[in-house]
Amino acid sequence: MPVITYVQADGSTSVVDAPAGTTVMKAAIANDVTGIVAECGGQAMCATCHVYVSTPDSSSLGEISEDENEMLDCTAAPRTEQSRLSCQLVVQERYDGLTVRVPEYQV
C-alpha cells in the first residue's frame, strides 16, 4: 500500500498508509493529520486542503484541472509552484513514498 508522509510547518511528520483510490486529503482526515481542514469534503470548492508537494517530479501526480487551478488562487497560505489541493490527488501505487508539506494555515 502506498505510504504518504505529511510534514507540518513545525517540522513534525505523520506517515500514513493510503490505499490506492483514496485521495491525499481523505488519507489525512482518516488518520487525524492536523492542518488539512477540507471544509467542502473534496469538491474543489473551499481551498482548505492545500498542500505543497515537495517531490521534484510533481507531474507524476497528474495535471492540475481548471477547477483546481482557480481554487488554488484562493488558498490562505501563499500559492507556489508546488501547491496542490490534496482532495484532487487520487492515490495510485506510484504515489508510494510521496511527501507533502502542510501549510501553516488553511483559513
Binding site: 471544509e39 467542502c40 469538491q43 470548492m45 473551499c46 488562487d73 490562505a76 483559513v107
Partner: protein, 395 residues
C-alpha cells in the same frame, strides 16, 4: 463513556430564550450536555465544534433528506434536502455560476454597481436604517442577478424569501403562513418561467442558465425547487453578514481604524462576523442508524439541529469566543457548513460582502456612526442577525 438517552438538565430552554440570545444556553450545553434533547425544538442539538464537523463530514450517517421536511414541502425536493448522487447532480448543475473565477470576473462588477446604485438613492438623507435600506435590498438585487431573474423588485424577492423561510419553519401549521408561502411559490415560479426561454436560447453566467445547460440539465420543476432554496437560503445570509459586520465595525473603533487603513482587512472582518454570529445558526439532519455523538447514543431516525452558531463559539477552538476579534489566530469556523453541503454561495458571499458592500459603505458614507437614539436589536437562533441598523452620516 456513553449514556443512554435521559432528560437532561437545561432542556427546558424555550424557543423564545434561544431567539433572544442563544449563546448562554449553547455555552451551558457545550460544557454539560453537548447533544441535549430539546423538547421545544423536537430535536437533539449538536453544540460542540468537533461534533458539528463530524456530522457534516459523515452524510451517510446524518442525512439531509429529513422525513417530513418542511423545506421539501414548501419548495419542492431540492439539493439542500438530498443526499449522495441525487444531491451531487443538482449541485454540479448550479456550480459553474458560483465558482470563484466567475464570481470575480462576472459578478463582482455587478455587486459594485448594485451597491453604488443603492447608496446613490439615500446618501443625501444623512441618516437611515442600513439594514432596511442597504443590506436587505443589496442582497436581494445581487441574488436576483446571480440566479438570472429579471425585473424582480427587491422587495418582492425579500418577501418571497421570508415567506419560504417562515414556511420551512411552520411546525405550528399556521394556515396564514402556508398561504403566504403559496403566494411566494407562485411568484418565484412565474419569475423563473419568464426567463427560462431566453436563457435556454442565450446562455449566460447565471445559475438558471447553468442548470439549463449542464451536462445533465435540470428540468423546469427541478430548477424551480432549487432556485427556491437559493432564495430562501441565499438572501438573509449575506444580508445578515453585512448587518452584523457593519455593526461590529461601528462598535469596535480599533477595527474601524484598521480596515480604513488597510481595506484588505475587510475579509477578516467578514470571516470573524460570520464566526461570531453565524447567519445560519442551526440546520437539520436525521440519523440513518444508531450512532454515538458527544457521549450520547442517538437512535436511528433521530432529528438533529446542527448548531453552527454554537460550534463557532466553542472555547476549545476559539479563545474568548464571545468577543469580536479580527486578530484571533486562524481557526476554521463552520458558518458555511461542511462536507457535501458546504455553502455553494461561499465565494459569492465573500465577494459581495467583504470586497464590495462593507468597503463601499464605509468609504462613501463619511462620518458614519450609529444613531444613539435608536438602539440596534438582534434576534434569531435558526437564522440570526441584526434586525435594524439605524445610522447617521455627514450628508
Amino acid at each position: 463513556m456513553t449514556t443512554a438517552y435521559q432528560e437532561p438538565a437545561g432542556a427546558d430552554v424555550t424557543l423564545d430564550e434561544l431567539y433572544q440570545d442563544p449563546y448562554p444556553a449553547f455555552r451551558w450545553f457545550r460544557e454539560h450536555d453537548p447533544v441535549p434533547w430539546i423538547p421545544a425544538a423536537g430535536r437533539y442539538l449538536v453544540t460542540r465544534h468537533r461534533d458539528v464537523v463530524f456530522v457534516d463530514t459523515h452524510p451517510e450517517i446524518f442525512s439531509a433528506d429529513e422525513q417530513g421536511s418542511l423545506v421539501t414541502r414548501v419548495m419542492g425536493h431540492n439539493m439542500l434536502r438530498k443526499d449522495g448522487a441525487a444531491h451531487d447532480r443538482d449541485r454540479r448543475a448550479a456550480e459553474p455560476a458560483l465558482r470563484p473565477r466567475i464570481v470575480k470576473e462576472h459578478w463582482t462588477p455587478r455587486f459594485q454597481q448594485n451597491a453604488d446604485d443603492l447608496i446613490d438613492g439615500f446618501i443625501e438623507n444623512g441618516s437611515g436604517d442600513l439594514f432596511r435600506d442597504f443590506a436587505g435590498p443589496l442582497s436581494a438585487r445581487n441574488l436576483a442577478a446571480i440566479m438570472g431573474l429579471r425585473d424582480v423588485a427587491d422587495q418582492d424577492l425579500q418577501t418571497w424569501s421570508q415567506a419560504l423561510i417562515d414556511g420551512a419553519g411552520n411546525y405550528a401549521d399556521d394556515p396564514d403562513v402556508w398561504a403566504r408561502c403559496e403566494a411566494a411559490s407562485l411568484g418565484v415560479d412565474a419569475a423563473i418561467d419568464a426567463v427560462i426561454p431566453y436563457l435556454q436560447a442565450n446562455p449566460d453566467g447565471s445559475v438558471i442558465s447553468a442548470m439549463l445547460h449542464a451536462d445533465e440539465p435540470l428540468a423546469p420543476d427541478e430548477i424551480r425547487a432549487n432556485v427556491k432554496v437559493f432564495i430562501g437560503g441565499g438572501l438573509n445570509e449575506p444580508r445578515d453578514a453585512v448587518g452584523v459586520a457593519a455593526w461590529a465595525t461601528l462598535t469596535h473603533p480599533e477595527v474601524r481604524r484598521a480596515v480604513e487603513a488597510d481595506p484588505t482587512l475587510w475579509r477578516r472582518v467578514f470571516e470573524e462576523a460570520v464566526r461570531w454570529i453565524a447567519p445560519i445558526g442551526m440546520y437539520p439532519r436525521q440519523t440513518t442508524q444508531e450512532v454515538e455523538l458527544g457521549g450520547r447514543v442517538l437512535p436511528a431516525g433521530a432529528r438533529l439541529g446542527v448548531c453552527a452558531g454554537s460550534a463557532n463559539r466553542d472555547e476549545t477552538v476559539f479563545e474568548r469566543p464571545d468577543e469580536f476579534d479580527i486578530d484571533r489566530p486562524p481557526a476554521p469556523h463552520v458558518a458555511f457548513g461542511g462536507g457535501p453541503h458546504f455553502c455553494l454561495g461561499t465565494w459569492a458571499a465573500r465577494a459581495q460582502v467583504a470586497q464590495i458592500a462593507l468597503p463601499t459603505l464605509f468609504r462613501r458614507l463619511r462620518g458614519l456612526r450609529l444613531d444613539e437614539q435608536d438602539p440596534v436589536r438582534l434576534g434569531g437562533w435558526v437564522f440570526r442577525g441584526v434586525l435594524n441598523l439605524p445610522a447617521v452620516w455627514d450628508a
